[in-house]
Homo-oligomer: 189 residues x 2
DNA sequence: TTTACTGTACCGTCTGGACGGTCTTGTCAA
DNA sequence: TTGACAAGACCGTCCAGACGGTACAGTAAA
C-alpha cells in the first residue's frame, strides 16, 4: 500500500490544483497538499523539495499540456486555420465549469515571477498566430476575446449564458475565417 | 505630525494597493501596509478592524471609482453609444503601465468571496450593456475583448504593441457602432 | 542495496489581531 | 476665558498560531 512508486508527482500536482480550487488559493499549504494527495509531508518534500518547486511543477505541467493539446488539435485540422483551431480549443477549455488553473493565484501570491514562463509562452503563441493569420485586425479581436473568455473562466465569473457563449464562439470563428470584412451585420447566424 | 485625521482611510487604501503591486500580492501584510501608509499598525486596525475589512474597502473603492468614471464618461458622450463609451474607458484604464488592481490577487488569496461584489457588478454592467446595444454579436465580441485587455493588464503580460492596441480599439469601436439602429426601442429605463 | 517513500519531532519566522496607553479635539458649565 | 471631561484617532507591544522547512529513523518494494 505504501510505496506508490513513480506517479506520486502527478498525484501531488493534481492534489495541489484541487486544494487551490476548493480551499481557496490562499490555503494552499504543504500540509494540505500532502494530506490531499495521500502522501506524507516528508514524501511531498521528497518529490518537491520546496514550495516553489511545487509551483514550478504546476506551471510546467500546465504549459506542457496546453502545448500538446494545441499541437494535436492543429495536426487534426491541418493547415487550414490555426487561429480557428486556437479559438475552438480555448472555448472548449473554458467550457469546463471548474477553473482548470486557479492554482495560478496561489503561484502569483507566492511569487509573481512564476508568471514569467506563462507570459513568454503566451507571447510566443501570439507571435506564431500573427505569422499564420492574414488579417491582423481579426487576430487581435479574436485573440483578445479568447483571452477574455479565459479570464472569466479563471475568475469563475461567467457572465454569459450557454447560448451567448456559443454565439460568441461562432462570431469569433466567423471573424477568424473571413479576412477583411468582419462587419457581420447582414448575414444571419 | 501624528494626527492625520480623516483621510487616513484613503491613504491606507492607496498604500495597500501600492504594496500589493510592488511587493507582490502575497506580501500584503498589515505591517507592510501600515508602514507604507505612514501609520502605525494600531492606527491601521483602528480604521480597518480586520484584514478582511481592508480588502472590502479596496473592493468597494474600486467599484465606486469605476462606476463613477463610467457615469461621467456616459454623460459626456450622452446617449450615443454606451458600448463605445465602455470600450474607450476600459482601453484608457488598461493603457496604464501599472496594473491598477493587482491587489485583487491578494483579496482572492485571502478569501475568494471577495470577488462576489465584483462579479455581480460585472454581471449588472453586462446586462445593462445588453439592454443598450442593438447587436448582441457585436456586444459579445467587444465585451469579451475588453475583458481580455483587462486580464492582460492585470497579469501585467501585455503582448500587444502600442500600434496593435490602437488598432484593436479602433476595430472594436468599429464593431460597436453597428449599422442597424432599429431595435433600440425604449432604451431608457 | 538502492529507491521511494512514511511518520514524527522540531525550529525559526511571520502574521493577524488583541490590548492598554497616549495625544488631540470638541463641548460645556462656571 | 478657562478648566474638566468625553470621545475620537492613533501608537507600541505582545502573543498564539500557522507555515515552510529540516532532520532522522524506519520500511517495503525493485
Amino acid at each position: 500500500m505504501r510505496a506508490q512508486r513513480r506517479n506520486s508527482r502527478e498525484k501531488i500536482l493534481a492534489a495541489a490544483a484541487d486544494v487551490a480550487r476548493e480551499s481557496g488559493p490562499g490555503s494552499l499549504s504543504l500540509d494540505a497538499v500532502a494530506s490531499r494527495a495521500g502522501v506524507s509531508k516528508g514524501g511531498l518534500l521528497y518529490n518537491f523539495p520546496t514550495k516553489a518547486k511545487l509551483m514550478q511543477g504546476l506551471v510546467e505541467g500546465y504549459l506542457r499540456d496546453f502545448e500538446q493539446a494545441l499541437e494535436t488539435a492543429n495536426s487534426n485540422d491541418d493547415g487550414k486555420n490555426p487561429l480557428a483551431v486556437y479559438i475552438r480549443l480555448s472555448a472548449d477549455d473554458c467550457e469546463e465549469k471548474r477553473p482548470s488553473a486557479s492554482w495560478i493565484f496561489s503561484a502569483i501570491a507566492e511569487d509573481p515571477d512564476f508568471m514569467t514562463p506563462i507570459k513568454t509562452f503566451k507571447r510566443q503563441l501570439f507571435e506564431r498566430l500573427k505569422g499564420e493569420t492574414s488579417d491582423l485586425k481579426s487576430l487581435l479581436v479574436c485573440y483578445l476575446a479568447i483571452e477574455g473568455l479565459r479570464s472569466m473562466n479563471l475568475f469563475d465569473s461567467d457572465v454569459l449564458s450557454k447560448d451567448e457563449r456559443e454565439l460568441l464562439v461562432a462570431s469569433l470563428l466567423e471573424i477568424a475565417s473571413s479576412p477583411d470584412a468582419h462587419q457581420a451585420s447582414g448575414t444571419q447566424s
